[in-house]
């Protein structure tokens, strides 16, 4: 079986990293992933051109809708369990219950958002750290590409040619 190799090009400059990604897409190498210390719009523009948007929003929306009905129904259910008129308001008083519904909308929306974020970004996942360079949380942009065993040197040379300051090889 042919062994696949992964090479990381490390760039101090964002524009050079973007240039390397664009060149990689046109080359015979396969772009695997990109690490960056900040959410780079330039990298997003290159990588997300043909991809659908993140699905986190659907989780947030679902959480919000569930929360709204949970809050409203909780208030209605508890009031109807003991039909006592308080402060002259009807037992099921929709205006005050809207406040409970609103707060639950926000609470469940945020909880949905967190679930969406964790599941979509696949966190927590500590084994990621085995294939990672610590400089990528500081000042470097890391571009990881895949190649055949025989093309490893060529891929490393490619990154150096694109202005990469350092390189690293991962064997998966």
């Amino acid at each position: 079986m042919e062994v696949k190799r992964y090479v990381m090009g490390l760039f101090r400059d964002e524009d050079r990293a973007v240039g390397a990604i664009e060149s990689l897409k046109k080359s015979s190498f396969k772009l695997h992933k990109v690490h960056s210390p900040v959410p780079s719009h330039k990298i997003m523009n290159v990588l997300d051109r043909d991809r659908p948007q993140s699905k986190v929003g659907y989780f947030t929306l679902a959480g919000g809708i569930i929360g709204f009905f949970t809050g409203f129904l909780l208030a209605i259910y508890t009031a109807s369990e003991w039909s006592l008129i308080v402060s002259g308001k009807p037992v099921i008083a929709l205006v005050p219950f809207f406040i409970v519904g609103f707060e639950f909308t926000i609470l469940f929306g945020v909880l949905g958002n967190i679930i969406g974020l964790l599941t979509q970004a696949r966190l927590p996942r500590w084994k990621n750290l085995k294939q990672y360079d610590e400089r990528c949380s500081g000042e470097h942009f890391g571009v990881v590409a895949q190649c055949d065993d025989a093309d490893q040197d060529r891929l490393m040379a490619f990154f150096i040619e694109k202005g990469g300051d350092a390189k690293r090889i991962y064997v998966y």
């Binding site: 524009d15 959410p39 809050g71 369990e81 929306g109 974020l117 927590p124 610590e134």
Partner: protein, 438 residues
């Protein structure tokens, strides 16, 4: 700010996480002693009864409720800075957003203690939870106090999650430059974050939704707090302007607390290149805006009382300015509405001692605003023979001291153990083409 590099930002922020010196631990110990005083007073109150506080007819809500509203207010500007200014893309908020968010979380925690303290028999707190008692009676969701429970617990949950999510990339940066137990600590907290593009793609989206949800929440929470008063019929409380008035006041006091915390922080940790004079000046300019709203609200209350031709309302507001608590009232007016006007002059906005001094005065003024509203209303309501005054007892003062110490204690622990400035957001503010790693 453009002269900073990625490396310098990391070095400056992560330097603050080095093992602290003796002065730090002495300050922490002094604050811990203050917390113990507060805790002792609370335990004494639990054993002896709520009567050891100064609250009595007609003033049933004293410093416990004043401090509750004060700390919820302090919490608000953290969300203003982290969420609302984020949505407005105000870049100047980046250096102070993390500390302001932290202030929010700790202030809500501190505020949340006061309803428990005021409850007296604190073990009965579960009566407030949506859980039926022995008679199958549930909490009354028409009550503003139950709104408050729902709103404050939502706010604590949301602001804590927002704070932690915003810190993930920075925890990873701290992990990558730490050693020993600290490295393990940050490794667990950072959840395996590697700054992979796929992570950023979902993270930026999720963070945006966080900010979008936190913005209406922050406005709703202090509106709900204001309805604790406005939904009653007490003169001085029963007012339609309370929700916007309280929200503006909350942001006013929170911004002042941001200055109170940031100015020593930047001096101690050499943050002057990150938390620049321009950042502090922008906070001061926002304080002018909130101060004018608060001043306008004070004037509007008098206008409403005069225009209503309601004798009780007119008497209540006459007494507020000229009666037994007139000193507290004038401290409120001067500190919250007049002193911040000094920020119209650049000289005061650019001077750190003036910024710090004025921020303290606003904090004092905002505390007294809550005193004037919460105590002033029931002390002088409809029936002259039911009028009465309130003075906080030593036990209340001890508890108040303890909670103030608790807030600063938590903040001090935070600044030495977690990144107090968002490195990621600071890097994002760097201008295009700057040498990231040089």
């Amino acid at each position: 700010m453009s002269e900073l590099t990625y490396t310098e930002i990391d070095a400056t922020v992560l330097n603050t996480l080095t093992p602290p010196k003796r002065a730090y631990w002495l300050t922490v110990a002094a604050l811990a002693a203050g917390i113990l005083i507060g805790l002792s007073c609370w335990i004494y109150q639990i054993f002896v009864g709520i009567g050891v506080g100064g609250q009595n007819n007609p003033v049933g809500w004293g410093t416990y409720l004043i401090n509750f509203v004060f700390w919820v207010g302090i919490a608000h500007s953290g969300t203003l800075i982290s969420a609302i200014l984020y949505l407005f893309r105000a870049g100047w908020r980046n250096p102070i957003a993390r500390a302001a968010e932290t202030m929010t979380v700790f202030a809500v925690c501190t505020a949340g203690l006061f309803p428990l303290i005021h409850l007296g028999r604190v073990w009965l707190v579960y009566y407030m939870l949506p859980y039926p008692n022995q008679r199958y009676l549930w909490p009354n969701f028409q009550s503003p106090l139950v709104f408050d429970l729902v709103a404050i617990s939502t706010y604590l949950t949301v602001s804590s999650l927002f704070w932690f999510t915003g810190m993930l990339p920075d925890l990873a940066a701290a992990r990558d430059r730490a050693a020993g137990w600290r490295r393990r600590f940050y490794k667990i907290l950072s959840l395996g974050w590697t700054g992979e593009h796929e992570q950023w793609r979902h993270y930026t989206r999720g963070y945006l939704f966080f900010a979008a949800l936190a913005t209406p929440l922050v406005i709703s929470v202090h509106s709900v707090v204001s309805w604790d008063f406005a939904l009653a019929v007490v003169p001085g409380w029963h007012s339609t302007i309370f929700a916007p008035y309280f929200v503006a006041g909350a942001i006013h006091s929170g911004l002042a607390m941001v200055l109170t915390l940031m100015i020593p922080l930047r001096a101690i940790f050499d943050y002057k290149r990150i938390i620049t004079d321009d950042v502090l000046e922008n906070v001061a300019k926002t304080i002018i805006f909130t101060g004018l709203i608060v001043g306008f609200a004070y004037a509007t209350e008098y206008f409403i009382a005069w225009y209503s031709h309601n004798e009780i309302e007119i008497e209540s507001f006459r007494w507020r300015a000229l009666g037994d608590y007139s000193l507290e009232f004038w401290i409120m007016v001067v500190c919250n509405s007049l002193v911040p006007l000094l920020f119209f002059f650049k000289k005061y906005r650019r001077s750190t001692p003036w910024l710090f001094g004025i921020s303290i005065l606003i904090n004092v003024g905002m505390w007294f605003e809550r005193f004037v509203i919460i105590v002033g209303g029931p002390a002088h309501d409809f029936i002259p023979h039911a009028w009465g005054l309130y003075t906080p007892s030593a036990v209340e003062m001890g508890i108040m001291l303890g909670t103030f110490c608790l807030f600063f204690f938590l903040f001090l622990l935070f600044v030495k153990h977690l990144p107090s400035v968002s490195m990621t957001e600071m890097k994002e503010t760097l201008e295009k083409g700057s040498a990231h790693g040089s």
